[in-house]
């Protein structure tokens, strides 16, 4: 029992602690590639602290939905994060839910964020909500299907079990094709869900291009801090998923201090590496027009579907 609680607390600390770091890292990589020095890697922590100390200004047209949303979003993203293995393969709360619970927890946050975007009554918020609705409706089926393609090899839709079995080589990937397709699909989904280029641009405030930023335009102070933190955590959730589902190397499969230490280092290296990749990718490509995004997300869905089809055809 004590061990379980310690592990849960440790995972919460990891999720909350490293998420601003990843955002800072991506920004730094982008700055260096643009031949700028850029802000320090730990700048997002300072930003969060500043936002928490600011007096929040709330639109007078809003209802309680607007002020409740940051907390609901924070709670749902954190809960989703607790279902995903990070440094140890056996997540103590994994019995709470698997792939589907993960997707629907994230959807709960999206639902309230869409509502909050509409609540202030400005055209910006509505525009962001409408676009977010489109992106969400195309990514979620692809996400469920891509994880399912991986799940079948391990014989489980529980994320912790999949990672654990793969790490212990209990379920050996004989044909890499379905896995590679699922990986590609999940990468596209991750980019879309976390609002990254080419789907959305987190660094923009131009109404033609923004999605997430338009929805949260009216937020300030502690509410904005919670939303930014939740968005950063969502990034961690997706990077952990990709890292641990497809490359569970080094993850702690037992709960000895040495294994956990190695697991923690390996985990940090892996997701930092993925964050650097995102930074490079964002510097290399331009944002897509909104109605071109649907083609990209459609491709993710088809890839995930092909992953499932290939799995059965190869197995016979």
């Amino acid at each position: 029992m004590l061990q379980t609680i310690t592990l849960v607390v440790a995972q919460i600390i990891v999720l909350l602690g490293i998420s601003p770091f990843l955002v800072g890292l991506i920004r730094k990589v982008k700055a260096r590639l643009q031949c700028r020095r850029g802000a320090g890697i730990f700048q997002p922590y300072a930003d969060l602290a500043k936002l928490f100390r600011k007096q929040p200004v709330v639109s007078s047209t809003t209802s309680w939905i607007f002020t409740a949303t940051p907390y609901i979003l924070f709670a749902s993203t954190l809960s989703a994060g607790l279902l995903v293995p990070t440094f140890a393969s056996l997540t103590p709360l994994s019995f709470t839910g698997g792939v589907i619970a993960l997707v629907y927890l994230l959807a709960l946050g999206t639902f309230f964020l869409i509502l909050a975007g509409l609540d202030a009554g400005s055209a910006f918020g509505g525009m962001g909500s409408s676009r977010e609705a489109l992106v969400a409706s195309l990514t979620e089926p692809a996400m469920i299907l891509s994880i399912f393609a991986v799940a079948m090899t391990a014989g489980s839709t529980n994320l912790s079990t999949i990672v654990h079995k793969t790490a212990l080589l209990e379920s050996v990937v004989t044909d890499p094709a379905p896995h590679l397709m699922a990986l590609a699909a999940l990468c596209i989904v991750a980019i879309a869900e976390t609002g990254r280029v080419p789907v959305d641009n987190p660094a923009t405030h131009l109404e033609l291009t923004m999605i997430h930023e338009a929805m949260v335009l009216e937020y300030s102070g502690r509410y904005l801090a919670l939303i930014e933190w939740a968005a950063a955590m969502k990034l961690v959730v997706f990077l952990s998923l990709i890292a641990n589902l497809f490359a569970p190397w080094g993850i702690a499969t037992t709960l000895t201090p040495a294994a956990i230490g190695i697991g923690l280092v390996a985990y940090l290296l892996k997701i930092a590496g993925l964050a650097v990749l995102i930074g490079i990718l964002e510097s290399m490509i331009a944002k897509l027009r909104l109605f071109r995004v649907t083609e990209l997300l459609g491709a993710a869905f088809i890839l995930a579907l092909l992953g499932v089809v290939f799995f059965y055809i190869l197995r016979g």
């Binding site: 709670a75 809960s79 589907i100 509409l118 409408s130 469920i144 014989g155 489980s156 529980n158």
Partner: protein
């Protein structure tokens, strides 16, 4: 049991006649009608619960003088479950109606409305407990006719009459198929009793069984609203008063689900080839996806909810279809799981759809319009209705930790467990159905984000919405009961699953309650914990703890800060409802992406100022969605009938002499036959 049944019967019959004894006193009629309905449905809830726990099915029958007809009732677990579902929605509707029908005082006879309401509830209850085919058909027809009369309550409006006629025709086409299906069983069994249907004297041939399967699917599917037989729902459900729409959409269409399970798993003994299940699965997947897609484009709140009924019937059929496929391969535990998932979603949909229709009724009551574009900002004016509607919206979007999430999760799992099937084709098809379900789920989320966001949030879009007031207390209680059930049914699967297991146990021959409930009932695990598990109470606890952690962190880092209110930033323009996103605008990207399905037609008329073509005087924008099924499936059929009618009309010119001549000829011909 018999006493409870009499209480139920007495309650509804009292509600049928008592209000008629107080003419021109609508208040007394209202209380009497809905009070007795509350009594009847209260007895129904107890009856349903007792029936579920009974060791042996309770039966009773009264013989009639009409051949083949006996008023036999049988309360097995399946029937009890549906009695419970009907009565739960009935009780909430009775309470809600006390407030809601005040809207109709002086316009419509409250005695007639109340009497029909009671009769409707009674007929639905009789449909699910009837143990005789003839009796079933009488109750079925009664249910259809009474609901027709309820649909045309506001018959002075032309659109209501059209909706009523459409419904009447569709429901009778369906009934014709139901009668055909029952005649097949009657032919083999020699009697209309369900016992004879189950164990006929000479077993049905394979061809006849297949015919019975297909005919039952069409007949009951019309009532359930499967695509493409769903076209009557978006007409009939909005036309009826809202508490009736709630019952029609939440419960009446479920009697068809009951009948399908009764026919496939009981009469046909659960013995069928895999492709029956596959057909049901395909029908379910298509209904779910098309239902939600058409719902997305609706701005009439009640029509939108009617399309969501098509979607949810589809989700229920996905569960049942998966169960049938597993059953055909002898995978009994998985068959029970699919069936259980479908039944779980049945009661969940009854609860949240009735809640949402009550919410729509409350909005109609407060604003006198069903057009979403005229709502806005209602959460501040109607906090209770708004909160209850939000719970319903979260449930129907299948978001944790509400009931919709739990049942959709179970449907997902029964589809994912397809890898245990022996053929590659089905192994592939079930995950594809799961992908369609995922798309359906997220589109439902978008749809209800639209409904709630446009109706309840931001600024009021019309003077109707600006002057809306919170609805009377009985209406709030009616919604409150269902909102509590939405959360309760989601958090307590450890209570619901064993009850449902009592239904699926006898139908599939295997009990799965112990297997599905893991960790002392705190989690659900359909196959084993290793494959998948979900714990709704734990999810709720996590969400609450996460929210508290957020509050704590905000306080820890920022201390106590009083928030300041200021107007929304609009690039220097003062905010006005005209700047807000509309429902049409909100779904425009989705309409564009799925334009192959919607085939929208856009009409833009611009009238310029005479002085200069750079300024417009008047502009008119229209956008329409192609009603594909009506245009390509129904209108050709209707046209054929209209053409036949045109031909016949020549011989029916209204001349008295001609008609007398027809009678004479008919008489002579009949006499010739008699010779």
């Amino acid at each position: 049991m018999l006493n409870l049944f009499f209480l139920l019967f007495a309650g509804y019959v009292a509600g049928l006649f008592l209000p008629l004894c107080f003419p021109a006193k609508p208040k007394i009629q209202n209380v009497l009608a809905h009070g007795s309905a509350g009594l009847g449905s209260g007895a129904g809830i107890l009856l349903g619960v007792m029936g579920l726990f009974a060791q042996e099915p309770w039966t009773a029958s009264v013989q009639s003088t009409i051949p083949f007809l006996s008023f036999a009732v049988r309360l097995d677990p399946l029937a009890s479950f549906f009695v419970l579902t009907i009565s739960l929605a009935g009780l909430a509707a009775s309470v809600y109606a006390i407030g809601y029908v005040t809207e109709f005082y002086g316009r419509v006879s409250i005695a007639a409305l109340g009497a029909l309401f009671n009769g409707f509830l009674l007929s639905m209850t009789l449909v699910v407990i009837a143990d005789n085919g003839f009796f079933f058909l009488i109750a079925w027809e009664l249910m259809s006719l009474l609901s027709y009369f309820l649909v045309v309550t506001e018959h002075k409006k032309a659109e209501v009459r059209y909706a009523g006629l459409f419904y009447l025709i569709m429901t009778h086409v369906g009934t014709a198929f139901v009668i055909l299906a029952f005649l097949i069983f009657f032919q083999a069994g020699g009697s209309f009793s369900f016992e004879a249907f189950r164990h006929p004297e000479q077993p049905l041939s394979e061809g006849m069984r297949t015919l019975a399967f297909l005919i039952a699917l069409i007949g009951f599917g019309t009532k359930a609203g499967i695509v493409p037989l769903h076209v009557w729902l978006p007409y009939a459900h909005p036309a009826a008063p809202s508490h009736i729409s709630a019952l029609m959409s939440g419960v009446m269409i479920k009697t068809a689900i009951y009948a399908l399970i009764r026919v496939y798993f009981d009469f046909l003994g659960g013995q069928f080839p895999w492709w029956w299940g596959f057909i049901v699965l395909v029908v379910g997947a298509v209904s779910a996806l098309l239902g939600v897609m058409y719902a997305l484009m609706e701005h009439d709140l009640k029509r939108l909810l009617a399309f969501h009924s098509v979607e949810n019937i589809g989700i229920i059929l996905l569960g049942i279809g998966a169960g049938m496929i597993f059953q055909s391969y002898g995978l009994k535990e998985l068959a029970a799981l699919g069936l259980l998932a479908g039944l779980y979603h049945t009661i969940n949909h009854a609860v949240f759809k009735a809640l949402l229709f009550f919410g729509a009724g409350s909005l109609l009551y407060a604003t006198h319009t069903r057009d979403m574009e005229e709502y806005g900002g209602l959460l501040r004016r109607m906090p209770w209705t708004g909160a209850f509607f939000l719970i319903g919206a979260i449930s129907i979007s299948a978001l944790p930790p509400t009931n919709g999430f739990v049942s959709e999760w179970l449907v997902f799992q029964s589809l994912f467990l397809s890898f245990q099937l022996p053929t590659v084709f089905l192994k592939l098809m079930l995950p594809i159905a799961a992908a369609m379900l995922a798309l359906t789920g997220v589109l439902a989320l978008v749809c209800f984000a639209k409904v709630f966001g446009i109706s309840f949030l931001a600024l009021a879009r019309s003077s109707h919405a600006r002057h809306a007031e919170e609805v009377p207390i009985p209406m709030r209680i009616g919604m409150g009961i269902l909102a509590v059930l939405c959360v309760g049914l989601g958090l307590a699967p450890m209570i619901v699953v064993p009850l449902l297991d009592r239904i699926t146990g006898p139908l599939t021959g295997v009990s799965i309650s112990d297997k599905v409930l893991a960790f002392d009932g705190w989690a659900l695990a359909p196959a084993n914990v290793e494959f998948a598990s979900v714990s709704p109470p734990m999810l709720a606890a996590l969400l609450i703890a996460g929210g508290l952690l957020g509050l704590f962190l905000a306080f820890l880092f920022g201390g106590h800060l009083v928030k300041r209110y200021y107007k929304t930033w609009g690039c220097g323009i003062n905010s006005s409802p005209r700047l807000e996103y509309t429902a049409t605008g909100f779904v425009q990207p989705i309409k564009r992406v799925f334009s192959t399905i919607y085939q929208p037609t856009i009409k833009l008329e611009t009238e310029f100022l005479e002085e200069s073509r750079y300024f417009t005087k008047h502009r008119r924008f229209e956008i329409h969605i192609e009603p594909i099924f009506e245009k390509y499936l129904y209108h050709p059929v209707i046209n054929v009938f209209v053409r036949i009618a045109d031909r016949v009309r020549i011989r029916q010119a209204g001349s008295l002499h001609l008609n007398l001549a027809y009678i004479l000829v008919a008489l002579v011909v009949l006499l010739l036959f008699a010779l």
